[in-house]
Amino acid sequence: MKSNRIRSRTQQGRVSQLAIRLAPVSLAFALVLPSFSPESLQGHDSLYQYLEVSQDSAGRRTLAISIHLADFASEFGIDSNRSDLAWWSKLDPRDQDRVRREAGDFLHSSFLFSDPLFAKSLAASLLGAEINDENEPARPGCVLVIAEIPPRLEKLEWVYQSDQKRLMVILTRPGQFPQVLDRAAGERVILPLPVTTP
């Protein structure tokens, strides 16, 4: 079981912790709704769409795509004062499902992955997310979709279809500086992946 930590500010301005547990499947994706906490709030994070690939010391590779709530088709979350964990916790379960659905719609319309199996796994795994008491810092005001990348893949290739904003691709490997690609809408991106054994 893997979990991500996120933080939210309480009424007193202190920091409390809430979390959303990821589905326990290697190819599963999960949704995380981080708050605008003092630690993580980044005023301009909404300027880019982020896609991050990271390899940990055990060689496991994960993909994380953050979808800013303001980018959804509906009016969820454009006001940073609304789209935090408190807002999320008060949402009707049907609205939470709607957020997940919109995140999925956004993801699938914006990232056209060339690997059909990977794209399919993405489509199948946007449903499971539950609140837990552990989590990890993530982008504020965003739905964070995380997936493990299957060992068989040597590269990720996709077309970034969104006309909303630029894409920042970040590749993180142990002991190396993050590699960063800044791409405009409509561009095809080919990202050679680190080998799965460290």
Binding site: L41, H44, L47, A70, S162, P174
Partner: protein
């Protein structure tokens, strides 16, 4: 928050400042206006009196609110009306104590970017008028034989409403602050807001409510009023012309803004077109500026979130900004894993939390010094004293203050620190030179490859030759030849060609002229800079009730000297009054020792009424928050 109930003597607040008055000829019988800082407007019918925002004589039978900003509510309260009506949009401001109850904490990390002229306490109204949608007929109501048509008019404020009343055959529209005679408005900063259809948040929403304001004005024009009576200034006797001019001026300013804008780099044409269409119409013809020349970062410069890391040949690092735990953790990991030998210094480009939130923690973790320009260091070292966009509460205890143009030699690099009030006033930049590369000017967030980052007026992008973007243009022009620019968010070096520089600067100067025409102030900076008057500190905690020290900082943006008369108030109790003459483009600090025997819960909010000798006045323009020290 509970404020004391004060005697509701008409004029307690507003007559404390001199009010110009004049008689208006040819008004319908029964309509009276007394001009002042806030116009007092009354209609008499069947022996009863109706007032708009402020009455001429105490205790009118009915008072109509056009919106619920602090000065309006104070005047309404002083009028002591028997009955009050307001727009349902005003409800949250009328329940201001809820807003204040969390503001002590919420002022940090703030990107809401709204004018916070909240009333100081709750104000009860008798009826909230529902907002009619576009397809509904207006809900008229009758008062003493007079038919009143409320017109929903958000824009200048979030909750604006106007009232159309026919008096002896004249259609009179009471417009509050939405527009002034001559097609002007009081200021531009009131329009900052999110642009929801364009998916632009409030922080990036320059004139974000201007499209709603245009729609509101068009609704007023459609009602064909004969005169407009605003809450400030004189009557408009040609509403159609004044509305047309006002809309035209606003559109010109917005078109100009978009033509020089940094956001074209980040946001796709869909968003930017949506913003343009909302204000300028579908055939706006605006062409987005092209991206300027940009190239990859040199190998000695790494992009980590909003951090730029400069890597020396001996593998030590000097970083610019550490905006959050994610960046800090990445830096710590790089050190742990040996990718860098250590971090020897941190430069804070500006005071937004996405650049500063983890600087204190990073300085502690790496045991390295933090450098900043004086304007930035002030905020880093005492964040609770400031209210600015995105101030992080994390105090940086030791900041090495680097004056403008100071140099520092580090490894094979030469750094020149510059005061660079571009994206925000409290902003620096760093010219980085080394032998094997063209110079690189790290400009924080002040430019992108398409233009300038002037989307948030609360950042204080002053339109003055001696500061703001005009001074940044000069600094960049004086840089060594072939210098590249780099923005903290963007992993490219970029530079404009000469034509682009010229077009940005000439458009920017034209915008200043347009704002001067549009806004009823003696200098355009008063229209874009809400903080021309501000308390310092913004908040303070005192150990016991009694005497409090605070300061009011005043900037005279005008090109002539003028007097500023200031009254400090606790609710409607005047605590102190001072007058000061400030030279053209000068500033002044007024220190006050105030006896405050009755501290309120959860805090006291002191406000300042300020009258400039140019004739411009603001009641309750700015505030400072004071509370008893909280136990840990």
């Amino acid at each position: 928050m509970k404020l004391a109930i004060h005697a509701l003597l008409i004029g307690t607040l507003l007559f404390s400042l001199p009010l110009p008055t004049s008689a208006e000829p040819d008004l319908p019988e029964g309509l009276r206006i007394e001009y002042g800082i806030l116009n007092r407007i009354e209609i008499t019918s069947r022996g009863a009196r109706l007032a708009i925002n402020a009455s001429i004589e105490a205790a009118p039978d009915l008072l109509l609110l056009t919106h619920a900003r602090r000065d309006i509510i104070e005047a309404a309260k002083a009028s002591d009306p028997a009955e009050v009506l307001a727009s349902s949009r005003s409800e949250r401001f009328l329940n201001a104590e809820t807003l204040w109850s969390t503001w002590w904490e919420d002022r940090f990390d703030y990107y809401g970017q709204q004018v916070r002229q909240w009333p100081l306490e709750n104000f009860a109204v008798d009826q909230l008028l529902p907002v009619a949608n576009e397809n509904q007929r207006p809900q008229l109501f009758d008062w003493k034989g007079i038919e009143i048509e409320p017109i929903d008019t958000p824009g200048y404020t979030r909750d604006g409403i106007c009232y159309l009343i026919e008096l002896q055959g004249q259609r009179v529209c009471f417009v509050g602050d939405i527009v002034l005679a001559g097609g002007k408005v009081q200021d531009l900063y009131s329009f900052q807001d999110e642009i929801r259809p364009g998916k632009i948040g409030a922080y990036h929403g320059y004139l974000g409510r201007i499209s709603r304001w245009i729609s509101s004005l068009e609704r007023i024009a459609k009602a064909k009023p004969d005169i407009l009576i605003p809450s400030r200034g004189i009557i408009s006797h040609d509403p159609e012309k004044d509305i047309r001019i006002a809309i035209q001026r606003a559109r010109e300013i917005y078109r100009n803004y978009l033509s020089t804008n940094a956001l074209h780099w980040y946001f796709g044409p869909e968003r930017m077109n949506t913003c343009a269409e909302l204000v300028l119409g579908k055939d706006h013809g605006l062409v987005a500026p092209k991206n300027s020349q940009h190239i990859d970062l040199p190998t000695w410069c790494k992009h980590i979130g909003t951090t730029k890391l400069l890597l020396s040949e001996s593998n030590e690092a000097f970083v610019l900004d550490v905006g959050g735990q994610t960046s800090l953790k990445t830096l710590e990991t790089l050190v742990e894993q040996g990718a860098i030998a250590g971090i020897e210094g941190i430069f804070a480009t500006h005071t937004h939390n996405d650049h500063t939130a983890a600087i204190a923690a990073a300085a502690e973790a790496f045991q390295c010094p933090v450098y900043a320009l004086p304007e930035v260091a002030d905020v880093l070292s005492s964040p609770s004293e400031w209210f600015l966009p995105g101030v992080s509460p994390h105090q940086v205890e030791d900041v090495i203050v680097m004056p403008d143009q100071e140099k520092l030699h580090w490894k094979e690099f030469t750094f020149t620190f510059r005061f660079f009030p571009g994206q925000m006033y409290r902003h620096g930049a760093l010219l980085v030179e080394r032998r094997d590369h063209d110079p690189v000017f790290f400009i924080g967030d002040s430019f992108s490859p398409t233009g300038i980052d002037d989307y948030c007026m609360m950042n204080r992008n002053l339109h003055r030759e001696d500061t703001g973007y005009l001074s940044c243009f000069k600094i960049v022009q004086q840089l060594p030849p072939e210098t590249w620019l780099v923005n903290q968010h963007i992993p490219y070096l970029f530079r404009y060609n000469e034509a682009r520089w010229k077009s940005i600067e000439s458009a920017y100067r034209e915008r200043i002229r347009l704002i001067s025409e549009f806004c009823e102030v003696e200098d355009p900076n008063f229209a874009i800079d809400e903080q021309w008057a501000r308390f310092h500190p913004y908040t303070q905690e005192i150990s016991e009730q009694g005497e409090v020290q605070t300061s009011l900082l005043l900037e005279n943006h005008a090109t002539e000297s003028q007097e500023f008369t200031v009254s400090i108030r606790d609710g409607s109790t005047k605590l102190a009054t001072r007058t000061v003459e400030i030279a053209a483009r000068g500033s002044s600090r007024l220190d006050f020792k105030i006896r405050l025997p009755d501290l309120r819960e959860p805090m006291s909010v002191l406000t300042a009424d300020i009258q400039r000798s140019s004739g411009h006045s603001r009641v309750g323009h700015c505030e400072t928050l004071i509370r008893l020290k909280q136990e840990e």
